[in-house]
């Protein structure tokens, strides 16, 4: 594949932004990830799928710096990334959502999404205490971005509602909103459709596609639901028992015998 190409629906996919090279992650004696390499290209929707316990979430945690692999390298924007704290990685433009919603339940939708702007706020406690001047200006600028996100996700009606009082599907949307507010270069979504009904899944799929299309955000998502993944992603990595068993376009993956076996449950020789 050349450095950049244009998809059937007219989106431009650029060179890799993130490269995972021979990643191995162990927890004591358990090997969660075994020697996996793949890349995520600019502007694409990249899915990581696999059965339960395949190591998908661990992989996401490696990408956003929560876990440090024992072996292998992470390359971001063509440079090898040194081990660093997750918040520093957030500063580099990687935002994520969580499998189990991790919002501030007692705060409103608006305030929750505002926290997504945290990495972009520069004024310190002193200025914020004084409020008038730089802090106020900054708040207004950031609020504008947050309001655009609210408009984009069509959650105006719950702007001032406490997140804890919202139904699950909407909470997921608020969480996506918080990640979007950070205006990330790379957006990581951990099972964005888990526990949703069909209608909510359709809505969420639409939003994921729209985010990618409107803002050109690169998206990596973990998902259980094969049909959703196959419909919205450009390329798919398939993991099973910590190893990569497939990588390619949805069609290639669908016809991959190893993937079929993993999903249909062929007996493994060793465990």
């Amino acid at each position: 594949m050349s450095d950049t190409y244009v998809t059937e629906d007219g989106r431009t996919i650029g060179p890799p932004v993130l490269e995972m090279k021979n990643i191995t992650l162990r927890f004591g004696g358990v090997t969660a990830i075994k020697d996996i390499s793949f890349d995520i290209r600019e502007g694409e929707i990249r899915a990581i799928i696999g059965p339960n316990g395949a190591g998908k979430s661990s992989m996401l945690n490696v990408i956003n710096g929560f876990y440090h692999p024992q072996e292998g390298e992470v390359w971001f924007h063509g440079k090898k990334r040194k081990p660093m704290k997750p918040y520093k990685i957030a500063h580099q433009g990687i935002a994520r959502t969580f499998q189990n919603i991790a919002l501030f339940k007692g705060m409103s939708t608006l305030d929750n999404i505002m926290t997504g702007r945290f990495t972009h706020m520069k004024t310190n406690l002193f200025w914020q205490a004084i409020w008038k001047g730089p802090a106020e200006r900054e708040e207004i600028e950031n609020r504008e971005i947050v309001e655009k996100v609210i408009d984009f996700l069509e959650i105006q009606a719950i702007r001032k509602t406490h997140v804890g009082a919202l139904p699950y599907g909407l909470q997921k949307r608020v969480e996506l909103g918080r990640a979007l507010a950070a205006q990330p270069k790379l957006l990581l979504l951990d099972e964005p459709m888990a526990g949703m009904n069909v209608e909510e899944k359709e809505d969420m799929s639409r939003f994921i596609l729209d985010v990618n299309d409107e803002f050109g955000t690169t998206i990596a998502l973990i998902e259980h639901d094969m049909s959703v993944v196959m419909d919205i992603s450009d390329r798919v990595v398939v993991m099973d028992y910590g190893a990569k068993i497939g990588d390619g376009t949805p069609d290639e993956v669908r016809n991959n015998q190893d993937v079929i076996d993993a999903y249909l449950g062929v007996a493994h020789e060793e465990n």
Partner: protein, 649 residues
């Protein structure tokens, strides 16, 4: 049709009104919309500039004079401007219902032959594209919201702001063309075409001229002293004539401000933020709001509940009189002031109705209880009667003469007459020109002298001069002695009692009236629970002697109120029974929108009607029922029939 000039000179078309407003009220806000959490507003000068740029853009794209321009979307300032721009370019706006399905949309787009469609967003564009093989007449689609539109083939798609930009860029060339076209418009040019929903058959395109719309706007604005500084919330469908009159007609005439909600879901919240002074809503809106209030009061603390009920009782006693300026004693006034401070004002504020100076409801009968509740709070809620063919206004209630059971006096400039069969006819400057491409329907509805048949039966009350609508004309009959029989009039009175869910009244061609009653299982069941009345099913509860007693009391009260009506006193109910099953759409007894199908009910329960008229005290019957899954069963019951006291007229 009257050809004499009724409009003021120089203000007989919307482009002229807009030009006047842009000078006279340049700095006054004309339209507002909440977007990104903030109320954005545009003053008249900005509106005029936007409309002008869009109109020139239309011309650049090839819009011809007399073309129809379809507009699809929810209430947004940009779409109102799209309508004004169509008029500025000599074309005719045709707003469509945004929730119309593809088939309806294809029919209307094909029927009006629109070459241009203005769609709000991707969703509406998709709908138009989906039916494009049925509507080859559509040449250009202009969309406002760019989201998701990037990948579409843009050979016949245009972004709203791009069209405006093109118009601005071609100003030198296009402005003179626009001016020429506007000069050719006059009061008889078509202002707008609106499709009536039409419960039977295909929708009809009602052609309304500048005279129709502007004269109606002037008359109604003067009737309620609307002025710059007033504000409305535009949330009812743009395709509805009322919204066109409020948000374009009266707005451009009086210069008041139209606010558009952020999204349909935030309407209630936006209503509260805007606090409109002029407000319209259908009865079911007020009903729903009242139910919400009552539910929340039930959940409130004891003290709040006590105060609420205490002061609301007082408000119901003196509130309407205060509103009508009738004499009220000093102590009652004082108590009302206290109630206002404690209850009424905070409540009105929560509902977003604090500032309402003129409120209207129309469309169907509103329960007197509901109506009185809002009046008691000091909200000047009134009723009007109108239809698309009249540019809304036929009758309306003047301040100080507001009652739940009339629809008011003829609006300024409207003449009324009642036909031999009781049907209401009207003639006014607002009377529509014709149904588009449908001379037959036009002839059936409007006669050579300009009188329009409403399809409603009613009469003018002698004492007050108010019109009262009693029923659809086709349902009104005559009783054996020749007095008028209006079933819906009686049924509505019965249905205002919470215990009565449905009522069907018979009497056409008979000596007296009888009724079938359906009890409301929720309300009556609640009563049964509180009074330790055990029951197993609807049928069981419906046959309970106490229930019969309560229903009988209600009917006797209704009879008393009907007796006061000289025209309809013959419609008092003589005998009734409580049906052993609820009327149901699955059995074909009602429409899906819960309107009783009179004929089917009469045929199906022929035996019961017979018993009502032959004097028997009970009747055994068996009825077939259809379950939701389509299986059939039957229920048998022995029903009691009761006589009701009637009151001498």
């Amino acid at each position: 049709m009257e050809q004499n000039k009724v409009l003021p000179d120089g203000l007989d078309t919307f482009p002229k009104l807009l030009a006047r407003n842009a000078v006279q009220w340049a700095e006054l806000p004309a339209y507002r919309e909440k977007e990104y959490g903030i109320w954005q507003s545009w003053n008249w000068a900005e509106v005029a500039e936007n409309v002008n740029a869009l109109a020139m853009g239309y011309v650049a794209l090839g819009l011809n004079e007399g073309d129809h321009v379809a507009i699809i979307g929810r209430n947004r300032p940009y779409l109102y401007w799209a309508m004004l721009a169509a008029q500025s370019a000599g074309a005719i706006p045709v707003p469509l219902y945004q929730d119309a399905n593809a088939e309806e949309m294809a029919y209307v787009l094909g029927h009006c032959g629109a070459r241009f469609v203005i769609a709000e967003d991707q969703e509406q564009v998709d709908k138009v594209l989906e039916i494009s093989d049925q509507t080859p007449n559509v040449e250009q689609i202009i969309y406002f919201d760019k989201r998701g539109m990037r990948k579409y083939d843009h050979t016949s798609l245009n972004a709203y702001e791009d069209v405006q930009a093109e118009g601005r860029a071609g100003n030198q060339r296009l402005a003179p063309i626009l001016a020429e076209r506007q000069a050719r418009l006059d009061e008889n040019s078509t202002c707008v075409m609106l499709y009536t929903s039409g419960t039977t058959g295909k929708p009809k395109g009602v052609v309304l001229s500048n005279t129709n719309i502007i004269a109606s706007s002037i008359a109604s604005s003067e009737f309620d002293n609307l002025a710059p500084g007033d504000s409305v919330l535009a949330y009812l469908p743009m395709a509805w004539v009322g919204d066109f009159i409020f948000s374009i007609g009266q707005c451009c005439w009086t210069g008041f401000c139209v606010a558009c909600p952020e999204s349909p879901e935030t309407m209630q919240h936006d209503l509260r933020e805007i606090g409109p002074t002029y407000f319209f809503a259908p009865p079911r809106f007020f009903e729903g709001l009242l139910t919400n209030v009552m539910i929340r009061i039930e959940d409130a603390s004891k003290l709040k509940k006590h105060w609420f009920h205490k002061y609301m009782d007082h408000a119901k006693r003196v509130g309407p009189d205060l509103l009508d300026g009738k004499p009220v004693s000093f102590m009652d006034r004082l108590k009302y002031r206290i109630g206002d401070f404690l209850i009424y004002s905070p409540l009105k504020n929560t509902l977003g109705l604090s500032k309402v100076r003129v409120g209207y409801t129309a469309g169907e009968a509103i329960g007197p209880e509901i109506f009185e509740f809002y009046r008691a709070l000091g909200i000047n809620l009134k009723q009007l009667y109108g239809q698309t063919e009249a540019s809304v206004f036929i009758t309306q209630q003047p301040d100080g003469e507001v009652r739940a059971d009339t629809v008011g006096v003829p609006s300024p400039g409207v003449e009324l007459k009642i036909g031999d069969n009781g049907e209401v006819f009207y003639r006014s400057p607002g009377t529509f020109v014709e149904y588009f491409k449908n001379p037959e329907s036009t002839k059936d509805t409007k006669d050579a002298e300009g009188w329009v048949a409403t399809g409603d039966a009613g009469f003018i009350e002698e004492s007050s001069g108010h019109l009262r609508i009693i029923d659809r004309a086709k349902d009104v009959g005559k009783m054996a002695d020749g007095t008028m029989f209006a079933p819906k009039f009686v049924e509505n009175k019965l249905k205002f009692y919470p215990n009565i869910l449905e009522a069907v009244v018979f009497g056409d061609g008979r000596d007296n009236c009888t009724a079938f009653i359906n009890i409301d299982l929720g309300a009556v069941g609640n009563w049964a629970e509180r009074n330790n009345v055990a029951y197993t099913s609807y049928q069981d509860l419906a046959a309970h002697p106490d229930v019969y007693g309560t229903i009988q009391e209600h009917i006797e009260e209704v009879n008393k109120s009907i007796a006061k009506d000289s025209m309809l006193s013959g419609c008092q109910i003589n005998r009734f029974l409580v049906l052993h099953k609820e009327l149901d759409a699955d059995d074909g007894e009602m429409t899906r929108t819960r309107k009783v199908r009179r004929k089917i009910v009469a045929d199906k329960y022929d035996d019961l009607i017979g018993a009502l008229y032959d004097g028997s005290a009970t009747i055994a019957t068996e009825t077939e029922v259809t379950y939701e899954d389509g299986r059939k069963g039957s229920i048998s019951a022995t029903l009691e029939l009761r006589d009701v006291k009637m009151v001498a007229a």
